[in-house]
Each structure stands twice: as structure tokens, then as C-alpha cells.
């Protein structure tokens, strides 16, 4: 592992950790239903941009850490995150070349599907009522994603020399 890879490694894990931390923050009760899912934004960004580094495995692992942090049943968020990464990685192989709006729509839809899966698994293994307000957070996640995209692209390009970026474009 050379310096360049170390930089990318730090940026990926640093951003995922920051996403996890932000997801733990509880907004005041009135704004809380609109709080976006930061960690999903960051995870899906990396799955789109560097699918050969971040995909199902890392998605699953991030979800597992999220489960630990939330004190939820272990494996529930892990399954949902792995599912979201899998859809993006396997069904949208050329998503890197989509326009930003198209990417945003895909991310929003995939996140929504992921929330359904979460509900479903929670429903099988526990008692849960469907709180439709959760889907407000899907909307805000979708609106936040372009911003995450721009910020993380700037950071990622700063740690990756141009030649390395071109290598990935096959």
C-alpha cells in the first residue's frame, strides 16, 4: 500500500465514521422526522465512485457498526446497507457516468427500498408499527445527497492524483 492508497483509505473510512457520528445526532423533536440518513449518503457515494473498493462487504460492516451504536438488534442495518450497496453495485454498473440528477434519483430510490427492507426485517423479528414519517427522511436524504457528492468529490480528488482517476475510467 503506497501513500496514495493510504490517503484514499483514510478518506473513505474517515467519511464513513463521520457519517455514522452525524447519524447519531438527534435533532429537536419538530425537525427530527426530516433528519437525513447521513451514513447512507456517504456509503452510496463510495459505492458509486469506487465500487472496486467499497461495495457490499464494507456496506455490511458499516451497517453492523451502526447497529452497535444504535443498540439495535445486530444485523438489521447491516442487512439493509448490504442490500443498498448490492443494488447500486450490481444493477447500475455505469452509474458513474450518469448525470448528477440521475444519480440522485437512483440514490433516493435505493435508500427508500432500504428503509422498506429495514421495516420488513424489524417486523419479522420484533414489534413495530409503520411510521410513515420515516419517508420524510428518505426525501431529505435524497436532497442532501448532491451536497455530499460535491464535498466528497472535492476531498477525493484532493487525495487522488489525476492519473489515478483516469486509471479507473475504463
Amino acid at each position: 500500500m503506497n501513500i496514495r492508497h493510504a490517503g484514499v483509505f483514510i478518506v473513505i473510512w474517515g467519511s464513513l465514521f463521520l457519517g455514522l457520528l452525524l447519524s447519531l445526532i438527534k435533532l429537536p423533536a419538530e425537525a427530527d422526522v426530516f433528519s437525513p440518513n447521513y451514513v447512507v449518503c456517504v456509503l452510496l457515494y463510495w459505492v458509486i465512485v469506487v465500487p472496486e473498493k467499497v461495495n457490499v462487504g464494507i456496506g455490511w460492516f458499516t451497517g453492523l457498526i451502526f447497529d452497535f451504536l444504535l443498540g439495535a438488534t445486530l444485523g438489521i442495518h447491516a442487512a439493509a446497507f448490504a442490500f443498498m450497496s448490492w443494488i447500486v453495485a450490481s444493477q447500475f454498473k455505469n452509474i458513474r457516468y450518469y448525470s448528477l440528477i440521475q444519480k440522485t434519483i437512483v440514490v433516493g430510490a435505493v435508500n427508500c427500498l432500504g428503509q422498506f427492507l429495514l421495516f420488513w426485517v424489524e417486523h419479522i423479528f420484533g414489534v413495530v408499527t409503520v411510521d410513515y414519517q420515516v419517508f420524510w427522511s428518505c426525501l431529505s436524504t435524497m436532497l442532501l445527497w448532491p451536497l455530499v457528492y460535491l464535498v466528497l468529490t472535492l476531498v477525493y480528488e484532493a487525495v487522488t492524483p489525476k492519473s489515478a482517476l483516469e486509471l479507473y475510467d475504463y
Binding site: S23, L24, S35, E52, V56, G71, G75, W86, G126
Partner: protein, 306 residues
């Protein structure tokens, strides 16, 4: 196009299937067999700083809004609090003699005497962001002898139950969580009921009550002490809606917890004497095992409700 996603030579679909199986195994092990209790204990000990950092923006915002209090406002609040303290002191003047009276009467009727409970203050360090569960994390753990299934109250009534403990933090399941139920009595006439959580933060529902039951809007529900988790006589909720619609088997009764559960900050952990705890712990499901107990049908299997 060649599938370039294979890191160890397997495609992402294969990897998803492996991860899915792993997740299923983990979920079953965690929710039905509670295998990861010790691991959680250790990890939450390490992760305590993370929770403090995550709560920093909230604490910071609160600090700012508090520092903007003017001198006048502080003075007014101070006066108000002084008046309230003297009010409470006057009420308390007779407390000692009443306690003694009560003790004497209990001795006359050969009833066991209720001791005061040991209590300790705690502060919320993080509110759960998981939409499926209503829990908060508090800054007390095994270092302060907190145990699983311990009742948590504040000055307005019952807050909830400790469901997992780590070294210096623990998680409290709020009474309005889906998987929680408290045995209560109506203070006015002593009707026993079970107030179970609905998942909506400020709402409980009184389940399985016949339509002709004597419960009115505004009735205060207090703990009956029957489950053995909560001591007797703490306020739980006030009945906010009573609907005896025709054609349904049971009345639909909603109650609002006396504690403002979405604005929690300070609370008290109370120690129920070991002897009373022991009686009810034998043969009842573990309080920390919320998914296991919650998935069963009977209300009585819910933590706090047995």
C-alpha cells in the same frame, strides 16, 4: 463487460448472499438467544466517548440558549423556584408524621413496611435515532451498580426501564416503546389495567378493557407494583381518550404519560430492594431481551408487564 467488482474473485451478488446469511444468523442469535451481551458491554464501554461527541451539538445548542438568559429572567425564575420550594416544604411538613402513621397502621394489619428506595440522579447523554425503538442512553452504568430491569423515574412519574448496562452508560427503554408495558391501577377506583406503549412517544394504550369499564378521561394511572419491576404508586399516565365504540370487543383507551418523554433530561434510577426483586425474577423473561419478549403474543410477556 468483465465484472470488475470481484475483489476476492466473487461477484457482488454472491457477496450480498453471504452478507445476507450472516445478517440473518446475527439477527436470530441476537434477538432470540442474546449471545452478544458481553460483547455489547465491552464495546459500549469503549464507545462512550463517541456518544458524548455525538451529543455535543445538542449540548452546545442548549448551552447557547442558556447563556442567553438575561438577568431579569434569571431573577424571575429564581423567585419562582424559591416559592415552589417553600410550597413543597409546607406540604412535606406533615410527611414524616404521615409516614409514621402509615407504618403503625401497617404493623397493626401485619403488612410489610415499605422502605424508602435508594436513588441516584442520571442525565441523558444520547437519544436514540432509531425510528423503531424509543430508548435513551444515560450516564450511569455498572460503576454505579445499575442493573438490568431497573426502574427509572423522574419528578413527574415513571420514565422507563433499564434494558442494557455497560460500564459507565446504560440504555433506558421508555414506557411508550412498542415493546414495553406497565401494570397500572386507576387511582380513583383501583381498577387494574396494563398500559402498553404504542411507539408514539407521548401515547400509551390501555389494552383489553371491556367497554363498560369505569375509566374516564383525566383519570390518573399509577403503577400497581404487580409486575415487580416498578414499585407501587408512581404516576404513569393520564387517560386522554376513551372510546367505547359499538361493534368492537374492547374499549379503545389512550393515555398520555405524565412525563414529557420527548423532553427528557434528568431522571432518577431507583433500587428496588433485593428481596422484592428476587420474588419476581424467577421464571420471568429477561428484561433486556426486548425482541424475544416482544414477539410473543401475551401482554404479560412484555418487560415490566409480567
Amino acid at each position: 463487460m468483465v465484472d470488475k467488482l470481484g475483489y476476492f474473485g466473487i461477484s457482488s451478488t454472491a457477496r450480498f448472499i453471504i452478507c445476507g446469511i450472516f445478517s440473518l444468523v446475527l439477527i436470530v442469535c441476537d434477538s432470540h438467544f442474546n449471545y452478544f451481551k458481553d460483547l455489547r458491554y465491552t464495546l459500549e464501554g469503549w464507545l462512550t466517548p463517541v456518544y458524548y461527541v455525538a451529543n455535543m451539538p445538542v449540548a452546545f445548542g442548549r448551552g447557547i440558549s442558556e447563556s442567553r438568559y438575561s438577568y431579569q429572567e434569571l431573577l424571575r425564575e429564581n423567585n419562582f423556584l424559591k416559592r415552589e420550594i417553600s410550597d413543597i416544604r409546607v406540604d412535606l411538613l406533615r410527611y414524616d408524621s404521615l409516614v409514621e402513621d402509615n407504618e403503625r397502621l401497617r404493623r397493626l394489619s401485619n403488612s410489610p413496611i415499605q422502605d424508602d428506595f435508594r436513588k441516584i440522579g442520571a442525565e441523558v447523554i444520547m437519544v436514540d435515532t432509531n425510528p423503531f425503538s424509543l430508548t435513551v442512553m444515560i450516564n450511569r452504568g455498572t460503576d454505579d451498580d445499575v442493573y438490568e430491569g431497573q426502574p427509572v423515574v423522574n419528578e413527574e412519574g415513571i420514565v422507563g426501564l433499564v434494558i442494557s448496562v455497560s460500564k459507565s452508560t446504560s440504555r433506558v427503554l421508555l414506557i411508550s416503546d412498542q415493546n414495553h408495558a406497565v401494570p397500572v391501577v386507576v387511582l380513583r377506583n383501583g381498577i387494574r389495567a396494563i398500559a402498553s406503549g404504542t411507539g408514539v412517544v407521548n401515547e400509551l394504550s390501555i389494552v383489553n378493557m371491556p367497554r363498560n369499564v369505569d375509566i374516564r378521561e383525566g383519570d390518573l394511572l399509577v403503577t400497581s407494583g404487580l409486575g415487580g419491576k416498578f414499585p407501587r404508586g408512581y404516576p404513569v399516565a393520564r387517560v386522554s381518550m376513551f372510546d367505547r365504540r359499538e361493534g368492537v370487543q374492547f374499549a379503545e383507551i389512550k393515555a398520555q404519560p405524565t412525563v414529557l418523554l420527548d423532553r427528557l433530561r434528568h431522571m432518577f434510577l431507583i433500587w428496588v430492594p433485593e428481596s422484592q426483586r428476587e420474588q419476581v425474577y424467577t421464571g420471568t423473561p429477561d428484561a433486556g431481551d426486548r425482541n424475544d419478549t416482544g414477539s410473543q403474543t401475551g401482554e404479560n410477556n412484555k418487560p415490566g408487564g409480567n
